[in-house]
Amino acid sequence: MNRKNPLPNSNPNSPNSSMQALHFLQALARIARAAPKPAHSARTRQIRHAAYASMAHSSRSSRRTWSRALLHRLRQWQQQRPGRLLTVRRRVRIVTPITSRPEEPARAETLRQLVPGGRGMEYCNLLEETADYVQCLRAQVQLMQTLLDAFSS
């Protein structure tokens, strides 16, 4: 599959990426060992869950707001069992409204929704967290692509 947007160089040998990679590989190994073998869609969900969990657990990110928010979200996903008729009762979190700086672009709202935990952040924290989140996301995508390439030749 041709990648239209090759990732800019990020150091795959940094300790943070190694932790992220190791965590993900261990999770994959657990998924592979599961018996009976899960259905494709269930396994896909598990892999996706492992991907985001590895990102949140990489040593760089564990101090970050987005990684804590992501872990919280992941725990909620895990507790939902698909196939059951669920009444999803959302816990309404009261988020203190942030008075936006007048120069904060309107786009920031979308960004707040995309970055885990973004809603409660001050604007400049949001930018910092976004940068960190994007780096981890990229590393994860790179890792998964590398694994696919290595094992499907």
Partner: protein, 85 residues
């Protein structure tokens, strides 16, 4: 805002914006041009969404791959040896 140590300086803000711009891949960076915060955020949002989609897609493909691997395949051995530290 009132409890903050001090407002972030314009310089620090510009640094953050440049940092975000550098994280975008080349093709997306071109869409942004001069550091206009609004365009940059828009492109960053679009980039994050595409990365999320990639994770979904790669998860699906990894899942397919794992379906075809059995316990005795060479790939399984590689993974096992990778995890033995």
């Amino acid at each position: 805002m009132s409890s903050r140590r001090g407002r972030i300086t314009d310089e620090e803000m510009n640094e953050l914006i440049s940092k975000l711009q550098l994280l975008l891949p080349e093709s997306r960076r071109r869409n942004v041009g001069r550091a206009s915060a609004g365009k940059l955020l828009k492109e960053t949002c679009s980039y994050i969404k595409s990365l999320h989609r990639e994770v979904d897609d790669l998860s699906d493909r990894l899942s397919q791959l794992m379906a075809t691997m059995d316990d005795n395949s060479p790939q399984a051995d590689i993974i096992r040896s990778l995890l033995r530290s």
